[in-house]
């Protein structure tokens, strides 16, 4: 029996509302995964950039990076999405620039908001990881005559990434839950489709079980991937 057969067999066992909503919600899961992976990809770069800025000795740069992470961690994600999606379009000058091509799409607005948000959290995670690297490791590199640039890229960054894996795994799961807010700016991700089905069929519990089940499955998969990576790169 192929996987598709098992899937149809499984559908036939479910109550009709669940069987109807499961395929719709599964296709919406693709949107959620796209939003998640793109925002994590951009957020990683933002996080790394601001973590490095946080470690800078110049107090002005340092404070700026701290302020960035404070603002994005202290305000709800919903406000950030609304500012980017509804707010930025209001600036006349902004609409004439090429950036408007990106910012008029709710899809990219959501990704930018998520990336900025997860970037703030990632920068905190990476900063604490950088700070826990033992100075002896860097000194060993220096005494072997390795240039400080190579020490940073080949020693500090890999160790910091390994150190921050457990915390980053939590951040991925939080971000996956955060992508549900994309439904407030008209995107049809799992939560958006679930809301649509609930408001047309008035069967909230059944739809919640299916949608929640998909989210839980994704959480489970992410959790295990992170666990596997932790084991693989443990030292």
């Amino acid at each position: 029996m192929t996987l598709i057969n098992i899937y149809y067999k499984f559908l036939s066992f479910l109550p009709p509302i669940m069987a109807e909503s499961l395929p719709k919600l599964l296709s919406a899961a693709v949107v959620t995964l796209k939003l998640l992976s793109l925002s994590l990809f951009f957020g990683m770069f933002i996080g790394l950039l601001f973590a490095i800025l946080r470690l800078n000795k110049n107090p002005f740069i340092n404070k700026f990076a701290y302020g960035y992470s404070y603002v994005f961690r202290g305000t709800p994600l919903l406000v950030q999405i609304f500012i980017i999606y509804f707010g930025l379009g209001q600036i006349e000058y902004f609409r004439s620039t090429f950036l408007w091509v990106v910012f008029k799409e709710p899809y990219w607005c959501a990704i930018i908001a998520f990336a900025l948000n997860t970037g703030a959290y990632t920068s905190e995670i990476l900063r604490s990881a950088f700070q826990t690297i033992k100075p002896g490791i860097i000194e060993a590199g220096k005494s072997l005559g390795v240039s400080s640039k190579i020490i940073f890229y080949k020693i500090q960054i890999p160790i910091a990434i390994r150190q921050s894996l457990p915390a980053y795994g939590n951040e991925i799961i939080l971000m996956m839950k955060g992508t549900s807010l994309a439904s407030t700016v008209t995107l049809m991700d799992i939560t958006g489709v679930a809301k649509y089905i609930i408001s047309t069929t008035f069967k909230p519990i059944e739809v919640f079980i299916v949608a929640g089940g998909i989210y839980l499955f994704m959480t489970f998969v992410i959790h295990n991937i992170i666990k596997f990576l932790e084991k693989k790169y443990s030292f």
Binding site: T75, P76, L181, F208, A211
Partner: protein, 250 residues
């Protein structure tokens, strides 16, 4: 700035009331969350596999499912559930549930899952030897022997209220839990912005209304962000004081 004046022309007073509403919802949700934590933390620590499973599935499901989905469940399903329960008791009229109750309950259940984990961690990190020491000192004897029983099954056992619990465990649990509870408080405060989808007029909803009628979304949403930042900043100051108070001597 004219937009923020108090009175009929500005949105200052509306936003002020909305801020109070956000604070009220967060505090109510936090209290509901604590009551959920009070129920589920002992279950999570119990040796009974079924009770353990019950508590674990509560925290896993709530922490693995987006907050917005939980709020939609309560928003669309709350009325139906309450009416169903009422119909068992013979009441068949339509019951309208207030948006405040729905929202506070939904957020409360979410914050309860996080609080449960915090309390579990705090209880587990307390040294087991302390219980034995308390026993030796005669502190482990309950004040009253009260048991709620139904058909030979003990439902609630109040024997845990001992001098050991009140004077030894609780202060330590508070000291260990307050730093993490401040995170839970922040999460709860930020989650209240999601209740705006149910129509409860808190900061986010009021900004939405104001942005719609003045066509100035950038200003009002930025102002909402500032309000949230102020709330988190002030609450952090307060919690830090509590933290200092409960970590005396450490």
């Amino acid at each position: 700035m004219e937009l923020l004046t108090f009175g009929d022309t500005g949105w200052g007073d509306e936003l002020f009331i909305a801020t109070l509403m956000t604070i009220a919802v967060s505090i109510t949700a936090m209290i509901i969350g604590f009551s959920f934590a009070a129920i589920f933390t002992p279950l999570k620590l119990s040796k009974n596999k079924f009770l353990n499973f019950l508590a674990n599935s509560y925290t896993t499901v709530i922490r693995g499912v987006p907050e917005l989905l939980v709020i939609y469940l309560f928003f669309f399903g709350g009325t139906g559930a309450v009416m169903y329960v009422a119909s068992i008791f013979g009441y068949n009229e339509y019951i309208e549930i207030n948006a405040f109750v729905t929202g506070a309950f939904a957020i409360g259940i979410i914050s309860g899952a996080y609080s449960t984990e915090v309390f579990r961690g705090a209880v587990q990190s307390i040294d087991k030897g302390q219980f034995e020491a308390s026993k030796a000192l005669g502190l482990a004897k309950p004040f009253y022997e009260i048991k709620l029983r139904w058909k030979k099954i003990t439902i609630i056992n109040f024997n845990f209220i001992t001098p050991h619990f009140l004077k030894v465990l609780v202060p330590q649990i508070l000291r260990l839990a307050i730093p993490n509870l401040s995170n839970v408080w922040q999460i709860t405060l930020k989650d209240t912005s999601l209740i705006s989808v149910t129509g409860l007029v808190e900061i986010m909803r009021q900004s939405y209304i104001a942005a719609g009628s003045t066509r100035d979304p950038l200003f009002f949403y930025s102002f909402a962000a500032v309000l949230y930042l102020m709330l988190t900043f002030l609450s952090m100051k307060l919690i830090n004081r509590l933290e200092v108070k409960y970590s005396r001597g450490f």
